[in-house]
Symmetry: C2
């Protein structure tokens, strides 16, 4: 028959089983951590009406969107988890309790140019806290604590959370008379890391007519080693600025109570995170040994989640992890903890008798004890069976031959140490469970 | 500003938080059970090339597919998890260990006519065991054990797994001289439940010229109270038939060893499960109190998973649960276990002092102990705070006022019993954890 070549689309991550097991472990860690902070899991459709999904979008985003018609419907695949959240909250506002804390780990779609490490289908892992009209500043202080807990739970230590407050930037611009050029100035500041302060100043002065003195003052403040001290000279001149400083100070004050060590966060006045959306604290998270990756967890405080759908004012604060890209980077850097088992089973049960009943009964007992057991009954040579066990990477193999069945024991082989011992059938599931738990202890990532 | 009406497309399930928590519990139960049997989780793209996805499809299926172009690419959304599995196995055949056991719980898309209880985006929860050229019969015997364990883990007892073997049906047709009319006969038999044996016989005789005597014999056998005894008179006449009987007997023999009680399965020779695909054991699962729902878990043995992609012979056996529809039915029938907590947090922490540090420290300690804690600091009246706790359904509220902070205790209120007691700060996380575990014990479904 004529055959079609099996292939997976470029830009779509499809993992082999062991890798997938590692991915699941990372994803589960994110979910479990988010849940510790009282976030409820949501699951919204991948497909939405284009009218709803693109209420706000424009420009570059719109070009990347997977949009199509089915019957009379103009449909699109979600390109982030924020717009579906806005729709969800607007739609169900009367049924939700505010503050509404949700997490969502789901696939989103962007038809970007195919490129190594860039994905067209990728997971985002988002949390957001949405208030009804108002939202206490403590929520902005808690976010870095969640980032810290998430990354340390994954096994990472070498990261830093960068904080800023958009009110400080906007206030600075006001004091320096740059409010009308705020967008241009912000975009230019965003390039600091890449082009350095000299060039930033040149652009500010020459392209955007910022007075040289103002550019110098701005650069001096935002690049200061001690930003919270440096901003003091500006206080009392602009309300927004003062509020921003107060908010940032509050956030920093509470971070210690939340258990975030001082060396894991830093105020960084150069962080803007886009032009319009954020209005208070903003966050970035960088891997200290891999700054080239950019921020692996970003977000901030916004005033109006769902203004395109409802007149209800819904301020919030949230962060997003680009999970697929993060996983890809960790894999490329060899940082996935290969010591943790990735096999689908904890024990491979090999019956060595014609009657399979004892082996089936043993596998059933293992499962009842929470031990993942696979029966292997294919009529292969012993060596092929052991090769199979090796290829899967199962930690233990159980042999049940005539002798074992007669004596009410099972021979258990540790596939790592090569050691083998006979254990009473009744005790074997517990024996396995204990060892499997020991072997599974550890974080999914290793620095 | 002009606003867009927030809405979710018809045929797309989007749940409120408490319902979503119940859905997650059902999904997690399926995943955990599948894992106990040594299945590895897979995650394949939602979008595939149309050429690949539609290699086999045709007719009704093709009409329902979400298909579109992006740039030069002709793309489609997966409509089941079997075709992506076939593609995956064909593509990665040299890297996989066979038998390859995978589970996948993922969304699939079919643009069906919108109808109550019918979904266009829905989860399937599939397991399959794929052999390389051959696959031992024990795998066919294990499947009902997995179905049994899955449904009992969910909390269901009132269900029955129906078994048949396609070789028996095909053999019967051969013995009765009906092989050339096998398709028509099978389709007619499939209507037995709906139209009864009289009408089935009439159709067989009048429409498909089946001799009346053959129709009688066929109906007598497949409707027999003791099918395995009834088929004995046909043995020795057709090889396929004899093989089918042997396979079915083996499957039934081992079911006891696998721990499936006799009243939870039944041989039913009327089950066909479609015309072409299955070649051995076939399965259906019915809820005894809701037969109108039809089979909630079906599947069978097939000879050639990926013939459209590879010349490698890949026999397998698998089952699929239509998770979204099953959940919908259980919800409609009021069978979700409402006694289990659905709140996003185990404890809502209410600081009653201006300094939030003690409350933050307590929430942090709870989280370190695995207790899901939410800080509530919005400046609301006490009653509004308690209303919020009620609306979320949190099992416990923690009060930290001046007295508590001074005494190193926290007041914990059980929101179900209404009782409140003071517990030492150091002991409170453990106190909560124990009670939350007790309250979370129980299956997601209640009959």
């Amino acid at each position: 028959m004529g055959r079609i070549k099996a292939r997976t689309l470029s830009g779509f991550m499809e993992l082999l089983p062991a890798r997938q097991a590692q991915f699941e472990r990372v994803r589960d860690t994110l979910a479990k951590t988010y849940e510790l902070y009282g976030f409820t899991p949501l699951d919204t459709p991948v497909i939405e009406s284009s009218e709803v999904l693109l209420a706000k979008a424009g420009g570059e985003t719109e070009k990347q969107i997977y949009r199509f018609t089915k019957g009379d419907s103009d449909l699109a695949l979600r390109f982030d988890l924020t717009v579906p959240l806005a729709k969800y909250v607007a739609l169900h506002q009367n049924e939700l309790a505010f503050p509404f804390r949700r997490y969502q780990i789901g696939k989103v779609y962007r038809g970007e140019r195919a490129q190594r490490g860039r994905f067209r289908e990728f997971y985002q892992a988002d949390i957001d806290v949405i208030g009804d009209g108002a939202l206490d500043i403590i929520n902005e202080a808690e976010i870095p604590a969640i980032i810290y807990k998430t990354f340390t739970s994954l096994g990472l230590e070498r990261f830093r959370i960068r904080l800023n407050n958009r009110k400080i930037l906007n206030g600075l611009f006001a004091v320096l008379g740059l409010t009308e050029r705020a967008g241009d100035v912000m975009r230019t500041i965003d390039k600091l890391d890449k082009i350095g302060p000299e060039k930033v100043k040149t652009i500010l002065v020459e392209d955007f007519s910022v007075p040289a003195a103002a550019a110098d003052r701005l650069l001096a403040v935002i690049q200061s080693e001690d930003p919270l001290a440096a901003v003091e000279s500006f206080q009392g001149k602009d309300e927004t600025f003062d509020l921003g400083v107060a908010e940032l100070s509050t956030v920093v004050k509470y971070l210690g109570d939340f258990g975030v060590p001082a060396d894991h966060f830093a105020v960084d006045l150069t962080i803007a995170r886009g032009l319009d959306y954020y209005t208070g604290t903003v966050y970035e998270t960088v891997l200290l040994d891999h700054p080239e990756v950019g921020s692996v967890c970003s977000g901030g405080r916004y005033d109006n989640l769902a203004e395109y759908y409802t007149e209800k004012k819904l301020p919030g604060v949230g962060i997003s992890i680009g999970l697929t890209r993060l996983f890809y980077v960790l894999q490329e850097q060899g940082m996935l903890n290969e010591a943790l088992p990735t096999a689908p089973a904890d024990v491979l049960v090999l019956p060595m008798t014609d009657d399979l009943s004892p082996a089936i009964a043993f596998a059933t007992a293992c499962r009842a004890a929470g031990v993942r057991a696979q029966l292997y009954t294919e009529p292969k040579k012993f060596k092929a069976k052991m090769n199979y066990a090796d290829k899967l990477g199962v930690p233990f193999v159980a042999f049940l031959g005539e002798d074992e069945v007669r004596d009410g024991v099972v021979s258990l082989k540790d596939m790592v140490s090569g050691e083998q011992e006979k254990v009473a059938l009744s005790e074997a599931p517990g024996w396995l469970r204990k060892r499997v738990e020991e072997r599974s202890a550890g974080a999914p990532i290793r620095e």
